[in-house]
Point group: C2
Chain length 266, copies 2
C-alpha cells in the first residue's frame, strides 16, 4: 500500500487575515505524514501594485499579468507570502521549504497562447508533464513543500498560475507514488445545497450526483470550476478531494470529525 499524501490549498481569505493564517498553519503543521501546502495570492499583491502605481489591467473582467504585474506577483507570492508561511511553519516544528514551479523545475508550464485575450505572463500546465521526482525526494526526507502560484516556461520567464490548478496538478502527478488526498480550504463549510444556509453542507458527492446537482442548478456558478477541476483530479488518480473551511482541515484529515464535502469516484 502506498503512503498517504495530503495536498492542501489555501486562498486569499486565509492569507489576508493573519489570525486565520496563524491558526491554520498551526493545524497544518500538526498533520502527520507527508504533506504539501499550495497557497494563492490574496489582496497583498493588489495593495503592493497600487503602492507602486501599477494599475490593474482587466480585459472582459479578467486580470492581465503584464510585465510589471508579474514583478509584483513574483515579489508577493514567491517572496512575501511564501517565505512568511515557511518561517511560521518552521516555528510550528514543520520543516517547510518554499518553492515556485521554477524551483527544481517542479512545475513546467507554457505561456497561455493569445486568442481573443492576451492574458500576458500566465502559465497553463499540460496534463502529465509534471515530474514527481524532486517533490518525492523532498517528501521522503520529511520536508514539507510550500508552493507559490507561479510556474515557468523553461526559457527564463516566470508565469502567474492559478493555485487551484497547481494543487490538483501536483496531487495528480504524485498519485503514482502516494495515495493522494487533495483539500481545498475556502470560506464556506463545504459545498452547500442552499448558498444562504451555511449548514446545508453536502458531505459526500460522487461524479454522477455532481452532474445532477449541476443540471438542476443546486450547485452555484462559482463552485463549478472548482468541482470540475476536483473531479478531473479524481479521474486522473487522486484518491479523494475535500472542500472545506480552513478551521476543519485538521479534524477532517485526521479523521476525527465529519465536516466539509468529500468528492469521491462514482
Amino acid at each position: 500500500m502506498k503512503d498517504a499524501l495530503q495536498v492542501v490549498k489555501i486562498g486569499g481569505n486565509i492569507i489576508d487575515d493573519e489570525a486565520k493564517l496563524n491558526s491554520f498553519l498551526k493545524d497544518f503543521a500538526q498533520l502527520t505524514g507527508p504533506k504539501i501546502l499550495v497557497h494563492g495570492g490574496g489582496k497583498i499583491a493588489t495593495e503592493v501594485s497600487k503602492g507602486l502605481g501599477i494599475e490593474a489591467r482587466l480585459v472582459d473582467g479578467r486580470r492581465i499579468t503584464d510585465a510589471e504585474t508579474l514583478r509584483v506577483v513574483t515579489m508577493v507570492y514567491g517572496g512575501l507570502v511564501n517565505k512568511n508561511i515557511v518561517a511560521k511553519l518552521q516555528a510550528n516544528n514543520c520543516n517547510a521549504l518554499g518553492l515556485t514551479g521554477a524551483d527544481a523545475d517542479i512545475i513546467p508550464a507554457t505561456k497561455r497562447p493569445v486568442k481573443d485575450i492576451d492574458y500576458g505572463f500566465v502559465g497553463d500546465i499540460t496534463e502529465g508533464t509534471i515530474p514527481a521526482k524532486t517533490l518525492k525526494l523532498l517528501l521522503e526526507n520529511n520536508l514539507t513543500p510550500v508552493i507559490a502560484p507561479l510556474t515557468h516556461d523553461g526559457q527564463g520567464n516566470l508565469l502567474n498560475t492559478n493555485a487551484d490548478t497547481i494543487a490538483s496538478a501536483l496531487a495528480v502527478a504524485l498519485s503514482g507514488h502516494f495515495e493522494t488526498r487533495l483539500t481545498y480550504c475556502f470560506e464556506k463549510k463545504g459545498v452547500l445545497t442552499d448558498i444562504n444556509d451555511d449548514n446545508s453542507v453536502i458531505h459526500q458527492i460522487t461524479n454522477n450526483q455532481y452532474t445532477s446537482l449541476k443540471n438542476d442548478g443546486t450547485i452555484a456558478q462559482g463552485m463549478i470550476p472548482k468541482l470540475d477541476n476536483a473531479f478531473r483530479a479524481i479521474a486522473a488518480g487522486v484518491t479523494s478531494v475535500f472542500i472545506c473551511h480552513a478551521d476543519d482541515v485538521l479534524p477532517i484529515l485526521e479523521k476525527k470529525a465529519t465536516a466539509g464535502t468529500e468528492l469521491v469516484n462514482s
Copy 2:
C-alpha cells in the same frame, strides 16, 4: 577524496545590471559539479521601498531593517531576485532551486541583540549551527541551491542577513562533506595593491601576507571585512577563497586561467 563544491557569491553590481546578470548566470550554469549560488540584494529593494513610500532608516550611517523594510527585502530578495535567477538558470539547463535560510531551516540565526543601535530584523549566524544535511541532499541530487540573503529566528520571523556572511557560513558548514571553494564576485578584478590600478591584482595571498598588507595600509579599508571573513572561512575548513570579477568566474573555477585573488592557508 571529497568531491569539490563551488560556493559563489554575487552582489548588487551584477544583480542590478540585467546584461551582466545574464552573462554571469550563463557562465555559472556551465560550472561542472556541485555548486551553490548566494546572492545579495541590490538597488531594487531601495527602489521598491521608495515606491511604497517607506523611508530608509539609517542610524550612524547603517541601515535599519524595521518591519516595513523586512517586508520589502522579503519580497525583493526572497521573491523577485531569487526567483528570476532560478528561472534564468533553468533556461541555462541548471537545475536551480531558490531558498532563504528559513526554507528547510538551512540557516538558523538570531536577531541581532540591541546594544548601542537597534538594527531591527537583522540576523546573525552562530558559527557551527548550520546543518549541512538538506543542502547535501539537494547537491547529491544534482540540484543547485540559490540562496537569498534572509535567515530566520525559528520563531516565525525572517531576518535580513549579510550575503557575504551567508556564503562563508555555508561554505564552512559544507566543508566536512566537500572540498569547498568559496568565490566572491565583485566589481574589481581582485584584491589590488593600488586601488587606482585595475591591473595590480595580487594573485595569491596567505594569511601572513594579508596581515602585512593590512598593517602597511596596502589593502584598502573596504576590503578588510571581506578578507577577514574569507580567512576565517579558510581557518574553519574551506579549501580556498577566490575574490574576482564576475567575468572571470568560469575561467578561474574551471582552472583555465589565472585571474582574481586566491586566498590560501599560510
